[in-house]
């Protein structure tokens, strides 16, 4: 039977928001055009800081895209009815954010015109090459999963499809962690704790993004989230935040223990200027302590608090990634241990990075793409959660 979207989605405000997001996308594309014709010299990136703001945005989007599918997994794989109804929206968000994040990554390449080369020449030892297959496979798997959740006769298949997506995104997010874990020569990165850390971060960021989008849709339609469901999601969010904080703490504490790594850790946690500030205030306080307070304090925990907590988690996520990606590159490589070094190539010097407008536009362009896909998706197909879970065809 055909689907007609709620009247609220035809309002002028909807089109205005869509237009704004469209402008963000255009801004990003314009920035890329400049970057491609003039080269990366117009960005803040250089030979010391080779990955910048676009990667911060892209990795957040990709990690959150994986984590947002938790909501559907809890429904399909773990059979919790309250989550089953939210599965399709989570799938749409996943596709939207994955699309936005990948677009930013591909457009930041030095030769984006050679994406075909990347798609046809594979190095089996390269995580990036695996990712080309993992991410495209992820799109396909989520589309199939959405189909099983949204078409009545396919419901019996939603559990195996959900399981496939569940396993696939674990592999994919592990891959995201391995991008960094395999960089054995860098003090910031070569660590086995990174893949599980990224998996748990994906849980926290994914559910935060989902909650905001879901709340926005409900507010738009003039309905509100059921108390019981809100409480469950809120508690789950809190658990994920604690777990993520645990992994980040484990990563830094073990690093601190190795005397060879301690100079780097002091840089990130105490001496590095903007990096400790972003880490402690941005990630730990705003990204973790504030949401936990908002979620678990007996006097708080209302719906506005949970939305605030979700926003704080997202901001904390960006702060974390800035410190992780850019701070990790700013600290000089330890090539000659036990020596003070200096050279014309910034050996022994802290790398400097100031993001340019072009990179920020590109990052927001990715957010814009995610928004456009989500907004058009909920208008065109039946993604808005129905509070009474469908019982037809499966148990």
């Amino acid at each position: 039977m055909s689907y007609t979207s709620p009247n609220q989605l035809r309002s002028p405000l909807y089109y205005l928001l869509l237009a704004i997001a469209g402008l963000m996308v255009l801004g990003g594309l314009a920035a890329v055009h400049e970057m491609e014709s003039q080269g990366h010299i117009i960005t803040g990136m250089n030979n010391q800081i080779v990955w910048g703001m676009p990667h911060v945005f892209a990795i957040f989007l990709i990690v959150a895209a994986s984590g947002v599918l938790n909501v559907s997994s809890i429904g399909s794989v773990f059979n919790k009815p309250a989550y089953k109804a939210r599965g399709p929206l989570a799938g749409l968000l996943s596709i939207a954010m994955l699309g936005g994040g990948l677009m930013v990554l591909m457009l930041d390449l030095g030769r984006p015109d050679r994406v075909i080369v990347a798609a046809t020449n594979y190095n089996p030892t390269s995580v990036f090459a695996w990712n080309v297959l993992l991410y495209s496979g992820m799109f396909a798997a989520v589309v199939v999963y959405l189909w099983t959740m949204m078409e009545k006769r396919m419901y019996p298949w939603s559990k195996p499809a959900g399981l496939l997506v569940f396993v696939w995104r674990f592999v994919l997010t592990t891959g995201t962690g391995l991008i960094f874990a395999f960089l054995g020569a860098r003090q910031a990165y070569g660590s086995a704790v990174l893949p599980p850390m990224f998996i748990i971060l994906s849980f926290a960021w994914g559910i935060a993004v989902f909650h905001i989008v879901q709340s926005a849709i409900y507010a738009w339609n003039g309905t509100s989230l059921d108390e019981y469901v809100q409480k469950r999601m809120r508690n789950l969010m809190g658990v994920f935040v604690v777990a993520a904080l645990y992994f980040v703490a484990a990563y830094h504490l073990t690093n601190l223990y190795f005397s060879r790594q301690s100079a780097f850790e002091y840089f990130i946690l105490r001496d590095g200027g903007i990096y400790p500030q972003l880490f402690w205030w941005g990630y730990v306080v705003i990204g973790n302590l504030l949401p936990l307070l908002l979620i678990f304090h007996p006097a708080l925990g209302k719906s506005k608090c949970v939305i605030g907590a979700s926003l704080a988690i997202i901001l904390g996520g960006f702060a974390f990634l800035y410190v992780f990606i850019i701070g990790g590159q700013a600290f000089p490589l330890d090539i000659f241990h036990g020596f003070e070094v200096s050279s014309t190539f910034a050996d022994g010097m802290i790398g400097t990075y100031r993001p340019s407008l072009f990179e920020i536009l590109l990052g927001f362009g990715g957010l814009g793409v995610a928004f456009v896909i989500t907004a058009i998706g909920i208008r065109v197909l039946d993604f808005v959660p129905h509070e009474i879970p469908k019982k037809v065809g499966h148990h």
Binding site: E36, Q38, G39, H40, I41, M45, N46, N47, Q48, V50, W51, L109, G110, R111, P112, R114, V115, V117, A118, N121, Y122, N123, T125, S126, V127, F128, A129, N131, V132, I179, F182, L183, G184, A185, R186, Y189, Q329, L333, I335, F336, G338, F339, E340, V341, S342, S343, T344, F345, A346, D347, G351, T352
Partner: protein, 238 residues
């Protein structure tokens, strides 16, 4: 029935045989027309031995020579390419000072080759690690992976490149061990230019070569040997 089959079979055998004989000389001609079919061989392993004790602080002749040979700008801004650089070192515990040139170490197990998604970063059979600019997509993952910070990214449009050394915007590059010179029987520009005989270039696999004899007799180390990359560039006097 079987007579006809046998006849056909014999016909096929002789015609295929005749065709093979007809084509064979053409295949030989094909080889000769292509000139030297040998190319780089794994029997050779190019390497360098750098004597840090003879390297003078403040001397930049190797860097200048490399820049001139390869068409680099010579600039030292954060976005300028540097294929070789002089590093001034001071031992924190003893206070001893020394200087040495640092370039791509041409590892046997290069991390840059492991991580490159398109196989643009590759190791030639004779041990030289190169970037295939035809395949490089400019992702900079190899730059993240290199323990020696040997690689540079081309941040702007380039003009007037050396016809022997193609370089372009949006790709990653590093010391090529002057592969264009080596393939003509020469040696790297830095080794040739050094006034203090700091850089000794040669075939590590040839026991009679000067470099092989020297690494057998003097103590030399590989930088970051703990990573087990087995670089082809060794240093003495550190």
């Amino acid at each position: 029935m079987s007579d006809i089959d046998t006849q056909r079979r014999n016909f096929l055998k002789t015609s295929v045989g005749a065709a093979a004989i007809a084509i064979a000389p053409g295949m030989l001609l094909f080889d000769i027309a292509h000139g030297n079919p040998e190319g780089a061989s794994s029997k050779v392993r190019w390497g360098m031995l750098i004597d840090a004790e003879q390297c003078k602080p403040g001397c930049n002749d190797c860097v200048t020579a490399c820049n001139k040979e390869n068409g680099l700008s010579g600039g030292t801004a954060a976005t300028d390419s540097q294929w070789i650089r002089k590093i001034e070192l001071k031992d924190i515990s003893t206070g001893r000072e020394l200087s040495l040139p640092m370039m791509c170490q041409h590892c046997e197990n290069p991390p840059c080759v492991d991580v490159c998604p398109t196989n643009a970063s590759f190791k030639r059979a004779d041990g030289i690690v190169l970037v295939d600019k035809h395949r490089c997509i400019g992702c900079r993952y190899c730059m993240m992976a290199c323990p020696y910070k040997a690689r540079s990214f081309v941040h702007e449009v380039l003009h007037d490149q050396n016809p022997d050394v193609p370089r372009g915007k949006g790709t990653v590059e590093s010391c090529t061990l002057c592969v264009h010179r080596i393939d003509q029987g020469g040696k790297p520009a830095c080794a040739e230019a050094c006034p203090n005989n700091v850089i000794l270039f040669g075939d590590l696999n040839d026991p009679a070569s000067e470099i092989a004899k020297k690494v057998r007799s003097v103590a030399s180390v590989q930088i970051r040997a703990d990573l087990h990359l087995n670089p082809g560039v060794r240093y003495q006097g550190i």
